[in-house]
Structure formats: structure tokens, C-alpha cells
């Protein structure tokens, strides 16, 4: 091993001297050059043209489009460059240490799995092709279901929901169908959840018409209490929808008791496993007694988040709920795989076809590459990373982790910047913006804030110790700066693609602009009349 000599190039600072890409890209319409073409489509053969002419010309007035759409006109390379530059002005897991989007499990999506998902024998399959031509993808779906059954302990799993929220919606629909099948749909009109469960649980159940009953955290342990649950359950209880560990990273150690209390009242227990990453191979829905559960393949099982989708959800159920699973299911008859549409009690489809096939393929490949031991390593490392990060983060001035003092957390922690805000009048939106100047960020979770000035960090298994140290260095630098030079933090970002957004238009119907055409209509000034005076 060698060490650089004193006069050699100095070491890299920590945090690094980040600067975000800044291309000052115009809005795409401003690139338009009349007549330019980005792509051509096949010409009509003479045989077609001669036989049918132009059927579009036969469309009646009012049915035929009069003016071509005012889309930009661009050469191909200009389109490519525009979007490539905009991609550079976006930070994903491939680029930064993405631990700040806590609850989202921003882990590495292996590149080899991309090649599977993008193989034309997946990407160019039509969902109505004859089953004999899609045996491979059906087999992948069938096997993935079995793997997720083993991971959850449930009897069957559907891969159809296109996201985690859609999976919750699917579970709620199955709960409704289950109670309806027993003649109790009217009577059971309440769903219980907790303040730190993922908020989609309440939103989905509410959309389905249920009254939502939210259990509040114990002010010391941060956990929902059995007493509160007992006060909530009744003959009107349809289900408990609960996340565990909750979004605080705190594990509910009485979870099986919760399930028992709900079962005694005749309700179903549904496990939101959005935070499953820390308990893979450690604890399962089955052992805690749950009737339903769901995973997010784009969180726990590594499929990429795609700037907000396509995601993929998977719902697991016990035998009693199997008849209500979305249709079709994938079945195996000997060596053949088929789609079973003949499911009279099914809640129907929750996606136009069978879910997000590319993500199912990626998740399958990811699990197969890790196996049982690898999944356990994922969980253990996610938990180790989280507790390591928490130890470092809590040394930062002005930061705390409310509830469950002295306890370990599972795979994430909801921290509070309240101390720093009280001391410096610098708040989470300022801190988050300043983190952008270091190539990091966090998002401020969900309103209303039960934890004041919240920040949720979820380091997953994908980041090295050095990555975590670097992230802590960023947070620490921003915190120290908030004390020493709060105005710099409040006026951030300074080294990002753009500077502080003026949001004054965004709530004003006279000024907001959701599209370029609306912007031009509302904010263009008429061209100044040109002077009639001849030049010179």
C-alpha cells in the first residue's frame, strides 16, 4: 500500500464539492424548427394507396382534425440531446446516495435485470397472444408467485396491481368482497389503521367508502396500543390495515395480539409490507396471523422507481380469500402454464391485463440471484445500515429521533429537525433544498406532521459504509451551516439546476400553467408594434 506524498494532489473533501448539471434547457417547444422531422413512419405501399385512396378525407367535417397538433418540430438528435440533458438534471439511485426518500426503499436495481425486462420476448408480447407463445413469461409469473408465497407465508399471491397503493386498493376490494360473501358488507363499514402506517391505507379504504379509524401512537413508545385497538374494534370492523415496522422504523412487538383482537371482532387483518425490506426471511405475515398482505416490487424487490412508475404491487392472501383474488390467476397444469379467467367470485381486474410484466421479470431475477441466504443478507444489512446511520445522524446538532428512545429501529427512522428549527428558524424545506447543493435530498413525508419537522431516512442494503458516512457529512454540513449562516441555508439551493422556485403562480388560477399552451395564453405579452419608421 502506498500513500500520496505531501506535495501530491490533496485528498477529496467530505462532503464532496457537488454541483448539479445545469443545462438551462428551454421548454421543448422553444427548440422547434418548422419542417424538422424526428422520426418517419412507413410510407403507404402503392397497392394500398391505389385501392383505398385516403379514407381520412371521407371523415365528415367536425370529425376530421382541422389543424395539425402544434407539437414541436425537431430533428432526432435534438430530441435526444434535450432529453439526455434533462435526465442529467435528475438524480436517481444510479447517481446519488438516495437514502432520503424514506418509506420508498430506494435500492439498487441490477442492470442485468434490465436486459431481461427489455428483451423483445418480454417487451414485445401482446397480452392476448395465444398461451402457447407466452409460456416463458407465464412460468416466471407462476414461480414469482410461489417465491412471494414463501416469503410471506401466504397461500396465494396476485401480481396484478400496478403499484403499492393499487395493491392496497386490491386488498380492500377483496376485504369488501369477503364480507359481502358472508352477508356482512353493510354491517362492516369501518377500517382501522394507525397514524404511522403508510397513508395509502387510509386513502384506499376511504375511497372504497369505509370509515377510517386511526390509532394514535403511544407518546413514549411510538407504537399503537392494544387498548386503543380494543376501543376501536366492534361488529362494524371490516379490517385492520397496518404497516409493521411502521414508517418510524419501530416494530410493533404485539402485532399478533393486534391480529387476534381484530379476528375476535370478526374483522380481517391486512399487512402493508411496504417496509418489508428489513424483515425478509426474518418475520412473515403468516406467523403474525394476517389474512392479507402486500409487497411493493419497486421497493423491496428492487424494480426501479421510474420517476414515479411503472411500479408493481403483489397481494398475498390466505386460503379463505383466494376466491376473491383478481382475475386471471396463473395456473400450472403439468408442464403447461395458463391464465385462469374462470373465477366467478373474483373482484375482477385491477389493471387492464396482468400487471407490470417488466417489473415481475426484474423482481423474479432479483430474488433468484440472491436466494434465501441472500434475502436474509438484504434484510440484515438494511437493518445494520439503518442503525449505523441512526447512530451517526443523532450526533448532528438539532436532530432527534422521537419515540422509543434507546431502542434499535428496523430499516428506517423518522427523524425530527425540530431542535434545529427552534434554534435557528431554519426549517425542513430549507434543509432539504440545501441538501440538493450536496447532491442529496430528503422529502418531508406526510402531512399532518405527527413528528414535527420530519425527515425519514431509509438506507436499504444498497449503500456502503462510506456512502452512509458521506450522507451524514452532508447532513452535518447543512446543520452546522444552519447555526453559523442560516441565510445561506434559507436561500438554497445555490448549486442545483435551478434556484428557489417562485411558487406564487401555482395557486392562482389566473397565472398557473399546467401546459405550455396555458403559459403562452396567460403570460405572453402582445408583441410591441414595430415602428413604421424606416431604419436609417
Amino acid at each position: 500500500m502506498t500513500t500520496p506524498r505531501a506535495h501530491a494532489i490533496g485528498p477529496k473533501p467530505s462532503p464532496c464539492r457537488f454541483h448539479q448539471a445545469r443545462w438551462d434547457e428551454p421548454i421543448i417547444f422553444e427548440h422547434s424548427v418548422p419542417g424538422a422531422r424526428g422520426v418517419l413512419i412507413p410510407e403507404l405501399e402503392d397497392g394500398i394507396r391505389e385501392r383505398v385512396g385516403s379514407p381520412a378525407d371521407a371523415l365528415p367535417a367536425g370529425v376530421r382534425r382541422v389543424t395539425p397538433p402544434a407539437l414541436p418540430e425537431m430533428a432526432q438528435v435534438n430530441v435526444l440531446r434535450h432529453y439526455t440533458r434533462l435526465s442529467q438534471e435528475t438524480l436517481g439511485v444510479d447517481v446519488n446516495i438516495d437514502v432520503g426518500q424514506g418509506t420508498c426503499t430506494m435500492k439498487y436495481s441490477p442492470k442485468i435485470n434490465e436486459s431481461f425486462a427489455r428483451d423483445q420476448r418480454i417487451a414485445d408480447l401482446h397480452p392476448l397472444q395465444d398461451e402457447s407463445t407466452v409460456q416463458g413469461v407465464l412460468e416466471i409469473m407462476w414461480h414469482l408467485e410461489r417465491l412471494l408465497c414463501e416469503i410471506s407465508g401466504m397461500d396465494r399471491v396476485t401480481l396484478q396491481p400496478p403499484s403499492g397503493s393499487a395493491a392496497i386498493w386490491t386488498n380492500v376490494s377483496m376485504i369488501r368482497a369477503y364480507h359481502a360473501s358472508r352477508g356482512e358488507a353493510e354491517q362492516r363499514d369501518e377500517v382501522i389503521t394507525t397514524a404511522f402506517s403508510h397513508p395509502s391505507n387510509a386513502a384506499c379504504a376511504r375511497t372504497a367508502g369505509y370509515t377510517i379509524i386511526t390509532l394514535q401512537p403511544d407518546p413514549v413508545s411510538g407504537r399503537p396500543t392494544l387498548d386503543a385497538l380494543k376501543a376501536a374494534v366492534s361488529e362494524r370492523t371490516a379490517a385492520l390495515l397496518i404497516t409493521n415496522p411502521e414508517d418510524t422504523g419501530i416494530y410493533n412487538d404485539e402485532i399478533d395480539e393486534f391480529v387476534r383482537v381484530v379476528h375476535e371482532a370478526g374483522g380481517l387483518a391486512c399487512y402493508d409490507q411496504a417496509n418489508a425490506n428489513g424483515v425478509l426471511g426474518i418475520a412473515r405475515a403468516r406467523e403474525a396471523g394476517f389474512d392479507l398482505c402486500h409487497f411493493n416490487l419497486h421497493k423491496t424487490f428492487s424494480t426501479p422507481h421510474g420517476c414515479g412508475g411503472p411500479g408493481a404491487g403483489a397481494c398475498g392472501v390466505t386460503e379463505a380469500l383466494v376466491p376473491f383474488l383478481p382475475s386471471p390467476t396463473v395456473e400450472r397444469d403439468g408442464g403447461r402454464f395458463r391464465l385462469d379467467h374462470d373465477r366467478p367470485r373474483s373482484i375482477g381486474k385491477v389493471q387492464p391485463w396482468y400487471g407490470s410484466a417488466p417489473n415481475q421479470v426484474r423482481a423474479y431475477a432479483w430474488i433468484m440471484s440472491l436466494g434465501a441466504e441472500g434475502l436474509r443478507q438484504v434484510a440484515e444489512t438494511a437493518v445494520l445500515n439503518n442503525n449505523y446511520l441512526m447512530r451517526q445522524v443523532l450526533a448532528i446538532r438539532g436532530l432527534s429521533a422521537p419515540y422509543a428512545q434507546g431502542e434499535r429501529r428496523i430499516e428506517q427512522v423518522r427523524y425530527s429537525w425540530k431542535g434545529l428549527a427552534d434554534d435557528t428558524d431554519v426549517h425542513i424545506d430549507h434543509i432539504a433544498a440545501r441538501m440538493n447543493d450536496h447532491g442529496g435530498h430528503f422529502w418531508s413525508s406526510h402531512h399532518p406532521f405527527v413528528v414535527p419537522e420530519p425527515m425519514t431516512l431509509e438506507p436499504t442494503e444498497s449503500y456502503s459504509m462510506h456512502d452512509l458516512d458521506e450522507h451524514v457529512a452532508m447532513l452535518n454540513a447543512v446543520a452546522e451551516e444552519a447555526y453559523a449562516d442560516p441565510d445561506t441555508v434559507r436561500s438554497a439551493p445555490h448549486r442545483s439546476t435551478i434556484h428557489q422556485v417562485d411558487d406564487s403562480w401555482l395557486d392562482d388560477p389566473e397565472q398557473w400553467a399546467v401546459t405550455w399552451r396555458a403559459y403562452l395564453r396567460k403570460h405572453s405579452t402582445p408583441m410591441e408594434a414595430s415602428s413604421d419608421e424606416p431604419a436609417d
Binding site: I27, E45, T90, S165, A513
Partner: protein, 465 residues
Amino acid sequence: MNHRPGPTIHPYIPNTIPAVREAMLETVGAASVDELYAAIPAHLRLTRPLDMPAPLSSETELRRHVGGLIDRNTSTRQLVSFLGAGCYDHQVPAVCDEINSRGEFLTAYAGDPYEDHGRFQTLFEFASMMGELLEMDVVSVPTFDGHQAAATALRMAARATGRRRLLVNDHISRDKLSRIADYCEPGLEIVSLPTDATGQVDIDELRSLLDDSVAAVHLDQPSFLGVVETHGAEIVRLVHETGALAVVSVDPSTLGVLAPPATWGVDIVAGDIQPLGIRQHFGGGHGGFIASADDPKLVMEYPTRLFGLTGTSVEGEYGFGDVAYERTSFAVREEGKEWVGTAAGLWGITAGVYLALMGPQGMTELGERMMARTRYTMERMAEIPGVGLPFAGGHHVKEFVVDFNATARTVASINSGLLARGYLGGADLSGTFPDLGQSALYAVTEVRSQAEIDGLVEAIAEVLR
């Protein structure tokens, strides 16, 4: 299972190096990782390893297995496909695949307007280009798919009007109808709006069904069975007379030739963006959109995010943010909230790339050429004895129904014969539209050549022989 001398160092898990683990455990003050799980009681722990196949640790092993499974599929690149029914084999420009493969876009999520300025701009541009195609000023960020977009648009209309009945055209995808029904339960009543013999909305039936309890009327343009609605303006006038809203689901790939529903006065337009540069993905390539005029009353009803353009503290800089963020403060949602989640951001970006590549000329040519290829296919099909075209009198852009009842053959058996000859015949309607008997829905996009169409016609004739 292979015996390994030491712990596995996983390439995806940096901190599996024993020395690093030790150092980290020391920092957290734990003797083992197991200590960190102290909160999980023993009786809830899994006491055995998960039962699953041995890991395929190297890329070679993984590719051998997964690649082997993928190889058992035969795609629409090897087969000549006339399948549509909501998922289409259109030309996908290489730049679309290039951009949606970029790691920055692929692996970003929900960052703020500073971290992910590029994401905000691309999605604003997506909405803006869709706005031009639709001639509407407000377009949502992508929703899950066209089915959900239609369901959401109808819920919006119900909230905006305070009414509870929805008239839904009956030539609609059965899956879409079931999705609407599921999403609008409880509270909203769905009434079927009949179609006349031409495959268009039955105006007399519409008139008799409309009253002041109707919140909205929904129809597809073109209909699920491929027929272009030509009485749009009249339908919208009748709908508006009763104070209801007109909601139309449109296939955006047809809008180079078809007048955007906004020109008939439609209030909310929904649809699916899969035709815009996104592969079929076995049905996993969908994204939806919802659009309307810039009427604050409707804007306040969008459950999705709307990205707005604005300035920053620096002159000449574009910034973005959520428009009407506290939307619900305008109107109390007594009918309950809607849930939003991870939908189809990457497909929205892709559709934006597609529209920028196609431009006005590309979209116009796309529509015109699909119409010509479709009409050509219909005329050739009509030459086959026993094959009928029930709605041939109407206008079709890319889909039409073929009636095989007179051949005494099932669509299934015909399609099976076609498959043997390398063709994917049209979608079998016998289960979903039993009134049509043995009929199939054929789709002809811009990529189907004359040779392929002629080949299909020959193959059908052969199969029927």
C-alpha cells in the same frame, strides 16, 4: 448447493464484507445483527431459512435460467400481430427506448423540483404536448392506465356536478367497464348507454336516458370496437343541456386525423398513452392521462398531481411546482378522497419523447396511414367468403370487427390456424361481446405492411377452407 468456505460477498450488498460489518456493529454497539432485531419477539420469527432455489449468483447462471425462460416466448417481432383491444403494436422509435433506459430517469422517484428538475420538466412537457394533441390546457401527470383514468374522470365529474348516475357507452372494453364499476362503488350508479346498428351512440336512447340525475356521459373515441363517433358535437350538446358533463376516452394515436374531443365541447378527456412510443410489455406498458379546460372548478377535482411552470429567483430560469397544491381546500370531498400512488412516470416521459419525435406531421401521417391500412385490410377481408364486417359502414382508424359466424368456425380455432401460419389473429370477442357471436377485433397499425396484410387474408382463407 455449493459449499462456500466463507461468507458470501454479495455484489448488490456492499456491506457484506465481514470487516466492514464488524466495524459497523462496533459503531452501533451491538455484538451481532441479531441484537438489532430485539424488537421482534421470538415467536414471530421464522426459525428456518426460506425454502427457495439455490441462488444464481453469477450473471452467467442467472442469464442461463431467466434467459432460458424468456426464450420460451414468441413475440410480436416473430409473429405478425393483428391484436389490439387496448394494447397496440406501434412503431417504437429507438430514442424512446434510449431515454427510458437512462439510469437517471429509470431510478429516480419522487424528488423535489431541485433534485429532479429534469423529471419535472419532462413531465410538464409531456402534459404540454398532450395538451396540443388534445387542444386542452390542463393535462395530468400520468395515471396508471386508460381504464383508471376514465374511472377517475367520471368520479371527478360526479363530484363537480354533485350527481350520482353515469351513462357509459356499451361498446366499451369489458375490463374497463368493470374497473369503472369497481372504482365508482359505492355511491355512483352506472347505466349502460346503448349503441345503434352503426356502432355509434344511439342518440334517441341517450335523449331518453338523460335527466338531471346524470353526472356524466362517457364514450370512447373510437369505440372499443373501432368505430369513430361522428355525432360528438350533438351528443355533447344534449349532455350539457341537462347540466351533465361529457367525458370521452380517446386513443391519442388517432388524433392526427380525428378532431380532438375538446372541439366538440367535451369537458374531461381521458385515455391511455401506451400507443405513444411504449412497447406492449405483455400488458405492462400502460399509462393514463386526464385532461380538461383550465376551469378552476374542474382543476380542483383532479386527484393527481399537476405540474406547473413558474419562474425562480434567477431571471430566465424555469422552475416547476405543484399547481393548486391544497386543492381540497376549495371543495370538500364528501364523496371520499381518491388514492394516488406510483403510476407511470417513465411512460409519461417516453410518450413525451415520442410526441416530440413525431411532431405535427408525424401524427398526421400516422393517423392517415393507419386509416388507409385499416380500410385496405377491411376491403381485403370482405373478399373472403363467409367473413362479415358488421360496422364497415362507419369510419375506422385502426380497429374493426370481423364476423366469422357464417363460417361456422370459432374465432379460437381460426386464430389457432393463423398462429400455425405465423399470424396473431384479432382479439376474440365471443366471450366479452356474446351478442356478436364468433367475432374478432382486428387492429392494423402503421407497422403492418401490405405484404403482411395480404398474407393474413390468404391465411384466413386457407384456414377457412
